[in-house]
């Protein structure tokens, strides 16, 4: 009985705080993406051909984000039925966008025009019970073009 109460409390806490954290995070991501839109981040390997002199610098951004209890429970249900695991899709989407934003912020501080040759690296670093995914780390790195 007590186990059930604890489980339901955790579920409710995860649902409440998790939703709140996610919506707040998305809001801040969208806002910062707007302000940093002047720095394009592209995956092409070589810088555009210009005659202006410039220097280059390696910029990185990383973030570790954890999924909440409720979503982890949902995804374990999904594992039975199969199909898209939306809970983890939004987790990875948030992590990638945040990492790219942090990289762009670093480029912005250097006064860069653009960031090219972007690579993204994802790894799950914290395994929860039964080897379920606890949290993911995303690293974004690229070369900033500074005029």
């Amino acid at each position: 009985m007590i186990d059930l109460v604890v489980f339901l409390t955790l579920l409710a806490l995860g649902y409440g705080f998790g939703r709140y954290a996610e919506s707040r995070h998305y809001k801040s991501i969208i806002e910062r993406e707007k302000t940093l839109r002047r720095i394009p981040a592209v995956a092409q390997k070589f810088p555009p051909v210009t005659t202006k002199p410039y220097r280059t610098e390696l910029v990185t951004g990383s973030v570790v984000i954890s999924v909440d209890y409720f979503k982890r429970f949902l995804s374990s249900l999904r594992n039975i039925i199969g199909g898209r695991v939306k809970a983890y899709e939004t987790l990875l989407d948030r992590a990638r966008r945040e990492a790219i934003l942090r990289m762009k912020e670093q480029a912005d501080e250097l006064g860069a025009d653009m960031v090219f040759n972007i690579k993204l690296e994802t790894s799950s670093i914290y395994k929860g019970k039964k080897n379920s995914v606890g949290s993911v780390e995303v690293l974004a790195y690229g070369t900033a073009l500074i005029p």
């Binding site: 998790g18 954290a21 973030v63 570790v64 909440d68 780390e137 690293l139 790195y141």
Partner: protein
């Protein structure tokens, strides 16, 4: 020391190729952080302690790579790549590698 993830630096010629250089670092956080992380696993959200930890150890890995490049007499490391893997619960390995070259 120039560290970059492009293969060709515009306007500069590679005069000597020194081969692969690498640096890695394995780190774990103290128990307090791990407890915080397991709490965050209920609520969801960013694990700031772990972000910091990984950033620090990535810098360490890059520094070790640079040291190695110095040792072979290079003045730049091109085509740098990063990779992360978890080796044990609460510990992660950060690995950085690149090509050491001498630029004119």
């Amino acid at each position: 020391m120039l560290v970059t993830n492009v293969e060709i630096i515009p306007g500069k010629r590679v005069t000597k190729h020194m081969g692969l250089v690498q640096g890695s670092s394995v780190r774990a956080k103290h128990v307090g952080r791990d407890i915080m992380a397991s709490l965050k696993n209920i609520f969801g959200g960013e694990l700031k302690g772990y972000t910091e930890l990984l950033q620090e150890s990535r810098e360490e890995a890059v520094n070790r790579m640079i040291e190695q490049a110095h040792a072979v007499g290079a003045n730049a490391v091109l085509n740098v790549r990063f990779s992360t893997s978890s080796v044990a619960a609460g510990a992660a390995e950060l690995f950085a590698y690149g090509t050491a070259v001498v630029l004119e």
